[in-house]
Structures are given as structure tokens and as C-alpha cells.
């Protein structure tokens, strides 16, 4: 039995197994302004429900178009605020942060919980040992109204990350390497559970980057068992384990895959798909028009810190716009306190509020025809960040920062002493 099966079994007080359709009680259900308008339609108009059984476990986030870049978004946000008020649901308004970041850092989702999010990158939250999976809008409406929904319990693949992590290699490079190896449909119908001695050197920030992009190999969920790193993080934040579940390897996985991280280099995913992965050396020198450091993938304090460390006392290239968006207000405030924001602004970066905008081509830095971006985000589909003929390369914050200085894709290792 994988860790996810054990979390669901524990929650339901009866054993479930992979492949089974289980009716699961959700501890947390959340949605964002891209998916919430349809949730509101389903609850109010299609179902005509006046109250939610799970109101106290439901959360809405204004993070995708935050603050509103056009009137359609402003109207959607207005509906969300009215809905939240009427049904007693907590809403995190523009500027508070990106959903997956906030549910972790605010202690809304805690280890052992079952969390569903109307956003495909919900597996991010599995980094703290919760079962978190992405759902649709009707799903989220059902979960809010009834407090439960149907889930197919996924088979689990165990990935063992081992070895010391080389200089210039981060969580992002590790997950880009894996997406390149396993391809975009490699984990379809499955969840991924991480083990291995490399984990002790991966912080919660780094782990969230890895679980975040398991979505890009079609994993339904990703989870890292509670270990000393998680326990220390919980202690520092004053949070506790919600449901204690044995994290020991019981050996029942559909596959066990070793990944040796000590041989990795900084990686880049070239368009048009996330599994089109190369080492930074293979794409070095490619001119870029825009650099974006942020998103649910890489907008955490550790990411801003390494970008600031690389950019410190330098100027970003005249050729590029470098946009940095901390993933939450808390990260922004911490980055301010630590002086990182000052360093970035001094170098010529634009430090934006928390938003998903650039990643989804919604606002805050779109690309024109033929333009090229290097971004710390999770998707590089054609036209993702703007014009259909614009291109996106995905990389770590270190690689993005080095590229901002040079105006072309650059190896970060020469900037790291």
C-alpha cells in the first residue's frame, strides 16, 4: 500500500486499494479565479444549493488574474467575493498569494490530510505529506456542497532520489530531468511517492517545486512522506500533523524507479512541450526577451534568494525585461526583510505582486510575436505566455537569473562561488 492509499484508508476508517472508486471525505477543497466562476454557476444556478456542508473547509483564491487586468476578471472577482460572503467561505483576495503556496504556508493543508483543488497543480501540496489532487469545477462544487466526492485511488510509483546534489542543480532541475525521462504521459493514472537519501538536502521549498511539476508527467498526485525536514518545518511554523500515517515503505508499488541526482546538470525544457528537456549547455546562448521568476513552481523564498544572490551587484541585460513575482505576500515580505527585493530592483528587475498572470499568459508581462522567454514556471506550450508564435524555455531560478544578466540562456554555475 502506498502512502496515499494509507491516508485515504485512515480517513475513511476502511481499507481502499488502487483502481478502486472511493467516496472520499475532503479535508480541504480550494479553487482559483480561473475555475471558481464555473463552481459558482454549478452551485447557484445548476444545483440551486443555498448552503455548503463543507463551507468551513472551502477556500477561494484570487491569484490567476490578480489584481484584475480587465473588466471580465473584475466581474468574476466580484462574484467570488459575493459568493464567499453569502456561503461563509474564506476568500484570499488579490495579493495574498498563489493557492498552492498559501494552503501550505498558512497551515490550511497539513500532513495526512486529503486536499482537492480546482487547479491541475494541486499535487504541489503533497510535499508536506498530504494527499492532494487536482479536480474540475463541478468536482469542487460537489466537494463544497457535500464535503465528499468520488476519486479513483491511483496506483503508486516509487521514485528514489539518491546522491549528493551538485552545485547549480535545484529541485527544478531534478524534476525537469524526470519529466524529460518519463515524458508527459509517463505517470498517467498514477501517483508518485518520493523516497531516497537526496531528500534530506531538499527543503520544503525545493520539494514543492518537484511535486508541482509531477503534473507535467500526468501524475494524479505526488507525495513525500513526513520526515525530519517536514517535522522541522512544521515546528518552525507552529503547525501539527493532521492525521498520522505510517510513512514506511511497505513495498507495494507498481514500479520503483531510481534517479541518481549527483550526475545532473542545470536543465532547461525547450518548447513546445515540458518533456523536451536539454542540459543548459545545449541551449546556452539563445537570446531571450523576457525572464520570469515566480509562480507556484518557483516563487518561494529560496527561489528569490538564489536569484538575488546571482544578480547582486550586477545589472540585468538591456535586452530583457526581468519580472520577479513572489508566490505569496509572506514570501514577498520575507524577501523584503532579507534585502532580496532591493537587490533585484537595483539591478533593474520588475518586482510584481503574487500572481499566476505571466505563466498563463493572462497579464503582467505577455510576449509578442516571435519573442522568447525563460521562465521558472511549469508549462512551455506554444503561445502559453502570449502570442501564439512566442516561445517559453523552462528553467530554475538560478538559470533564469543568470540568463537575465546575459540576455541569453546562461549556465548559472559560473555565478555561484
Amino acid at each position: 500500500m502506498g502512502l496515499i492509499d494509507r491516508i485515504v484508508s485512515r480517513s475513511l476508517q476502511k481499507d481502499v486499494s488502487p483502481g478502486e472508486i472511493a467516496i472520499v471525505k475532503v479535508d480541504v477543497v480550494y479553487a482559483q479565479d480561473g475555475t471558481a466562476p464555473l463552481i459558482i454557476d454549478v452551485i447557484e444556478n445548476e444545483l440551486g444549493m443555498g448552503k455548503l456542508a463543507a463551507a468551513d473547509r472551502s477556500y477561494l483564491f484570487i491569484d490567476h488574474l490578480a489584481p484584475a487586468p480587465h473588466i471580465a476578471a473584475a466581474s468574476a472577482h466580484k462574484r467570488m467575493r459575493r459568493f464567499a460572503e453569502k456561503y461563509g467561505v474564506r476568500l484570499f483576495d488579490a495579493g495574498y498569494g498563489i493557492s498552492h503556496q498559501v494552503v501550505v504556508e498558512d497551515g490550511i493543508v497539513r500532513p495526512g490530510m486529503v486536499a482537492v483543488g480546482a487547479d491541475s497543480h494541486t499535487p504541489t501540496v503533497g510535499a508536506i505529506g498530504a494527499y492532494a489532487t487536482g479536480i474540475g469545477s463541478t468536482d469542487a462544487a460537489i466537494a463544497m456542497v457535500y464535503g465528499e466526492l468520488w476519486l479513483r485511488i491511483p496506483e503508486t510509483v516509487k521514485i528514489v532520489l539518491s546522491g549528493p546534489i551538485p552545485k547549480g542543480v535545484y529541485g527544478k532541475d531534478i524534476i525537469l530531468y524526470m519529466v524529460g525521462e518519463f515524458k508527459t504521459d509517463g505517470m498517467i493514472g498514477k501517483s508518485v511517492e518520493f523516497h531516497g537519501n537526496a531528500l534530506k538536502n531538499l527543503t520544503i521549498d525545493s520539494r514543492m517545486t518537484i511535486t508541482n511539476m509531477c503534473t507535467e508527467m500526468s501524475a494524479e498526485s505526488a507525495i513525500i512522506p513526513v520526515d525530519e525536514v517536514v517535522l522541522r518545518w512544521l515546528d518552525e511554523h507552529g503547525y501539527s500533523i493532521a492525521r498520522k500515517v505510517d510513512g514506511e515503505d511497505l513495498g507495494e508499488y507498481v514500479d520503483v524507479i531510481p534517479v541518481e541526482v549527483s550526475r545532473l546538470e542545470p536543465m532547461v525544457a525547450a518548447p513546445p512541450d515540458v518533456d523536451n528537456v536539454a542540459t543548459v549547455g545545449e541551449v546556452e546562448g539563445m537570446e531571450v526577451d523576457q525572464v520570469f521568476i515566480g509562480s507556484c513552481t518557483n516563487g518561494r523564498l529560496e527561489d528569490i534568494e538564489v536569484a538575488a544572490r546571482i544578480i547582486k551587484n550586477k545589472k540585468i541585460s538591456k535586452r530583457v525585461r526581468c519580472i520577479v513575482s513572489p508566490a505569496s505576500r509572506r514570501v514577498y515580505r520575507d524577501a523584503l526583510k532579507m534585502g532580496y527585493v532591493d537587490v533585484l530592483i537595483e539591478a533593474g528587475c520588475i518586482v510584481a505582486p503574487p500572481t499566476c498572470g505571466p505563466c498563463v499568459g493572462a497579464h503582467m508581462g505577455l510576449l509578442a510575436e516571435g519573442e522568447v522567454a525563460i521562465a521558472t514556471t511549469n508549462r512551455n506550450f506554444m503561445g502559453r505566455m502570449g502570442h501564439r508564435e512566442s516561445r517559453v524555455y523552462l528553467a530554475s531560478p538560478a538559470t533564469a537569473a543568470a540568463s537575465a544578466i546575459e540576455g541569453r540562456i546562461a549556465d548559472p554555475r559560473k555565478y555561484l562561488s
Binding site: 444545483l47 471580465a72 476578471a73 491541475s120 504521459d185 500526468s218 503561445g383
Partner: protein, 173 residues
């Protein structure tokens, strides 16, 4: 449930962005009807004018990958698509399709032999998918109990409207 229709053949890894671009989703966020003319526009130019009620989409691996974007299956259903047959589906797209009552069928063989315009039949009662044009038939796995009930009635909202509760509550109480 039996669906028969003319096929639109697509390849592997058709994403929710291919089905409906995020740009339109965000611009028309309060009104799904405004997105309909952009359905599949980068993949099949003019699709919204060419599609006929009852048409069936046949695709390769990982259909519907990408975002949670429930507008993707909703728009397919609104355009009259009767079912989607693919070698595999991204899990949120699959869930969304079930929840809105768009039959989604996993088929290993049929996508390989199918070409645009072939006539496809799916039979969820007897459990097969058939390319009538090519004379190729393949058995399909029946849906688990609740899933079958949701698809049969046309979606979970329809089910709740009819019975006042989701199917699993009926089963346990």
C-alpha cells in the same frame, strides 16, 4: 447508451490549451458561450462551423492534458460531440467529462486504425467501441457503478437534480 457518429481524428497529447486556449478562457470567464467559436481553433481551423451534432473525437494518448479547465469538455459537449475515444486521458479531463455527462472511452486499438471522417460507434451497454468504416471492433471496460450512473443520466448535476443526492449517497443510505 449507444453513440454513433462521424469521427474527428487527433493525435497524442491534445491539451486543454488545444481544446480551448487559456486566453479565451480568461477573457470570457463569465460566459462560456463566447468561447465556442474558439474550440479547437489551432488544431482544426473552422471546427466550430464544421462540427455536426453526434460527431465523435478519436485521439491518441493523454487526451485533455494540462489545466483543470472544465470548459474544455463542456465546450465539446455544447458543440455536439457525442463521445471522446482515446488511448488514454488526463485524469482531470476524464473526471470533468464524466461529471458533465460526456462519454469518454479508453481504446487501445481503434485510434490506430481510425481516419478523419470514419464512422465510429460506442456501445456502453454491451461494452464495445467499433470503427464501422474499417470494420474494427474492440471491447471496452465497463464504467464502475457510480461513474456509469453519472454518465448515463447526463452528468452529476442531472443526477442530483433528479434524485436530490449524488449516486453514492443513495447506495449507502
Amino acid at each position: 447508451m449507444i453513440r454513433q457518429g462521424r469521427c474527428w481524428k487527433l493525435g497524442d497529447n491534445i491539451s486543454t490549451d488545444h481544446i480551448i486556449s487559456g486566453k479565451y478562457k480568461f477573457e470570457a470567464i463569465n460566459d462560456i458561450n463566447k468561447m465556442l467559436t474558439h474550440l479547437f481553433e489551432e488544431v482544426i481551423p473552422g471546427f466550430h462551423k464544421l462540427v455536426r451534432p453526434g460527431d465523435i473525437v478519436v485521439a491518441g494518448r493523454n487526451f485533455g492534458k494540462g489545466s483543470s479547465r472544465e470548459q474544455a469538455p463542456r465546450l465539446l459537449k455544447m458543440a455536439g460531440i457525442g463521445a471522446v475515444v482515446a488511448k488514454s486521458f488526463a485524469h482531470i479531463f476524464y473526471r470533468n467529462s464524466i461529471n458533465i455527462g460526456l462519454p469518454v472511452v479508453i481504446s487501445r486499438k481503434v485510434p490506430d486504425v481510425t481516419q478523419n471522417g470514419d464512422v465510429i460507434e460506442i456501445n456502453l451497454v454491451e461494452g464495445y467501441v467499433k470503427n464501422i468504416t474499417r470494420g474494427v471492433m474492440e471491447p471496452i471496460q465497463p464504467y464502475p457503478k457510480y461513474i456509469g450512473q453519472i454518465v448515463e443520466i447526463g452528468g452529476i448535476v442531472e443526477y442530483i437534480r433528479r434524485y436530490g443526492r449524488p449516486p453514492w449517497q443513495e447506495a449507502t443510505r
